[in-house]
Symmetry: D2
Subunit: 304 residues, 4 copies
């Protein structure tokens, strides 16, 4: 398939979509990202890459990092992790405390904030240098030793992070946080502040399209079974409370972040990352979702 031409077609087609969403503004460092930034990278299991626009410019991956935290936590803790966090779609905004109260401190899934606090806490509970470990893990997955935390974003997340403090203390009050709130949040705010390009991100997710093995290095990064399962959690829980709509329109496992990135996985075929900072009301990249919809329509690739 001529992915390059498809990306260019799509790039053309979505021009009229810009200007309709709203850049995340809960912290200054995100609020000043130029709204028209727009990049795409496709990485195939054959090892090819196709890029469009600002594909090499690092952006704040935000909640996309929740997949890395889940992957590390599953590696460290195994299936026991699921006693502390569910894997059902929440049907509620990602930062809601309602469900958490009703379900006595067990977050609905690892991709809402409370759930990611639990996976991060798990990593921290095994590893005093969890922040460094997480960074090395992401550098390894993306084959890019230059991936960095954006310290300004991390500080800003902390400064405006009262709700995450509230959620952490709430988890603590339910006995579902092993470590110190401050320690967990330090790692959490940093992972949200990971600065990665579309290419970094597409590469970091490529093994999930290839049964857990890097098609480049041949290294088994996660067992095939776990890759499949992480994809399943992405499909049912990866786009906040728009998972059903996204599955309907796009039809692939994916994870979004309020930085405007969305990364998708087409098992057996490819990974794809789009970045466009304008968000819809739910917090997903408007243009990003449109790009992925056009991509699966044009390529006729989808899991359904």
């Amino acid at each position: 398939m001529n992915y390059q031409r498809i990306l260019e077609n799509i790039g053309q087609q979505v021009q009229r979509e810009f200007g309709k969403g709203k850049v995340a503004d809960y912290i200054p460092a995100l609020a000043r990202v130029p709204p028209k930034k727009f990049g795409i990278t496709v990485a195939t299991v054959e090892g090819d890459e196709f890029r469009f626009g600002d594909s090499e410019e690092p952006f704040s991956i935000q909640s996309i990092s929740k997949v890395f935290a889940l992957s590390l936590a599953l590696k460290l803790e195994g299936a026991k992790l699921w006693t502390r966090v569910g894997r059902e779609p929440s049907g509620n905004p990602y930062n809601s405390l309602v469900q958490l109260e009703k379900e006595r401190g067990i977050p609905r899934n690892p991709f809402i904030n409370a759930g990611a606090l639990v996976t991060t806490d798990t990593v921290v509970s095994y590893d005093q240098n969890a922040g460094r470990t997480m960074l090395e893990y992401v550098r390894h997955l993306s084959q890019n030793p230059a991936v960095q935390y954006d310290e300004e974003v991390a500080m800003s997340e902390k400064e405006y992070g009262h709700l995450n403090f509230a959620m952490s203390y709430f988890l603590k009050s339910h006995g579902n946080l092993r470590c110190n709130v401050e320690d967990v949040l330090d790692v959490y705010f940093h992972q949200c502040a990971l600065a990665m390009s579309c290419t970094d991100t597409a590469r970091a997710f490529l093994h999930l399209a290839n049964r857990g093995t890097s098609p480049i290095s041949g290294e088994k990064l996660v067992p095939a079974r776990r890759a499949k399962r992480i994809n399943a959690v992405m499909l049912t829980c990866g786009l906040y409370d728009a998972v059903g709509n996204f599955a309907y329109r796009v039809g692939i496992p994916a994870k979004s972040g309020v930085g405007g990135g969305i990364v998708g996985v087409i098992p057996g075929v490819l990974s794809i990352c789009v970045w466009s900072p304008e968000l819809d009301a739910i917090g997903n990249s408007r243009v990003g979702a449109k790009v992925l919809e056009l991509f699966t329509t044009k390529t006729k690739l989808s899991v359904f």
Copy 2:
């Protein structure tokens, strides 16, 4: 792949799982179904079929019928249907009114009861003989003119159906029911009471594994795009509030019913229907879910 041997292996393997669930008992006609009934049918897009156990015995398909109602409603109403019903997982029990109140009478998806009342109402609003039309549609899809409504079950559903009456009047109070409550419920209770075997059901869903076209007759039953979308809705909403867990363990679009049936679709490959009346706490067939988990594990087939 030797599906027959796989089915037999699985049949063996799940023997120890019987006796742990609970047959639906909210109506007498369901309560007296022998709990050890157990059948499987696999239908492939090549036109082969593989059967195990009580695969030819009709059972009450119950909520599986919601897929037929959605398919008919989409055919009649097109995308406008989605203004009256969402397509997000509910994160709540299938018969909950809470969400419906919060979301002002727009059911979360067509596979919870309230949502199916809307799709059925849509069909009834186009067709005075909706009950007959539905039956003919299902007979056609399953290639079995002998498929029938179980009138005893239908009457029983009505007698004990106060909650469905409540939901219908609630939809009506929000202006989201076009027809008369009694008329809609008559069709609704009948479709829930469709008696179909595993083979009937697997056949009726086979086109969804084949881009909408019957691999037997070559007839285009639904457009490819709609088949893909119905699969997406099944994956994100088809197993009540256990969709995430089912996607994780099994990884295919599927729809369950409290009669103990679960039908799954592996796009491009096959459809499969299992029947075992013992339910788990959420209302899905315990053995049925286990069979599908073993099937996707052994065949390495899944959408992820």
Copy 3:
């Protein structure tokens, strides 16, 4: 105290309050009530009465009738009634189903719709002519044999009463409705449609200010203990989800209706009924509440 002068002062003072609320419009018969209708009647335990404005014109008492239904149900069923309905403020709108689902069909109190359906059902379960019995009871309490059901309002309530149908079926589905839905609703819609004047209503509530005994006839209408308790339920549950605010501003047991009536009880002293059809956002008479606030401020009468 010169109640007459106080009423006239208040009547003057609230002139500027008219035109700010909204007459109930969910049924045509209520929607066409002239918004400036305004009456007050005070009835004292000494047997005096003081009237202002349209105090003799019958209006639709609506939810005020829930106090009569409670009184009758307590007489028939005694304390057992409280196993089927609570007596806590709901903290939710009067027609909400959310709480009813969470609390498994036990309405929070007898003054929200669901609770009144339970008290009415109780009356119907004891008495085949509950509609007639209720009417006679109210005529007796108000010493006015001319009190009538407004049949047009009753029919209209039924025609637009889908939500009450929904609630009744919901109660039924939880086993908390003894009688037939249609029978209960027929009585319910009629009692809501009772047409009574301010004077009728103030008289009908006067015994609650006098330990259960009519100061006119000397008849013990309810035991002193029950009068006190009905007052307690009115204070904590009588003004929908504005009870706290009303207690704070006014400080007396009271019950409102969407017809624009509010009746209050000052134990040991008097009963008072105001009618002004313009409602606030919560469904209480705007001017009515203001009148009662001014009345307790000027007279320095309140239970606190």
Copy 4:
């Protein structure tokens, strides 16, 4: 009325009620309070006092302190306070976050934890020495300069206070906390840890039974209007989610604490404080509520 004899009768009568409740055990300092401790003090507006049992032994007043915080906050902030906290019964447990989320950080009333955090924050925002000010205020009201914070309890509250941290950060995230979380909680945990006897407490509330004026010193402690209003808030919000039941059974404004104290006010007549540490499921003193019920029954005093 012979209050002394009434208290003694009641003391006799409730003997069989001991042993049925459960002492608060969320912090060690409360868990080890002997469950059979039992004291009562009645203070009348004539200046008489009647005591029974352990009436002079200080106990942890816990949530009773929320009335002091409200009184101080109203004094400092006036009616503007009600833009930051409601005055409606919550219908939910006192430590629930659900409602707070739904209502965007405005606590339902000042007697649930979140609401008391807002009143305490208000006091702290006016006064750098809020902890000391609060203590002096309570000493003045109770005419007992020996009233103290129990530092062990305060420390313990902090150590186990994750939920209060969560709530404070949640309020902060909604912009409804002016001061620093740590500073507000320090004062909050201390006021909960006030150690006062039944006599101290009854005296501290006596002005609320006397239109705001101390009948002993003649000092106007709060304006009459505010006293009446604080009583109203106590009646509708003072007993967690049992206010309706308490109004029904007892019928007076009151405030309870998980230390086992309940203080009640009978306007124009007296204040009464009971202490018995065994709690019911909702968190109110079991014996305490029974004592107050018997007291209002025997004396025929109640606001209804």
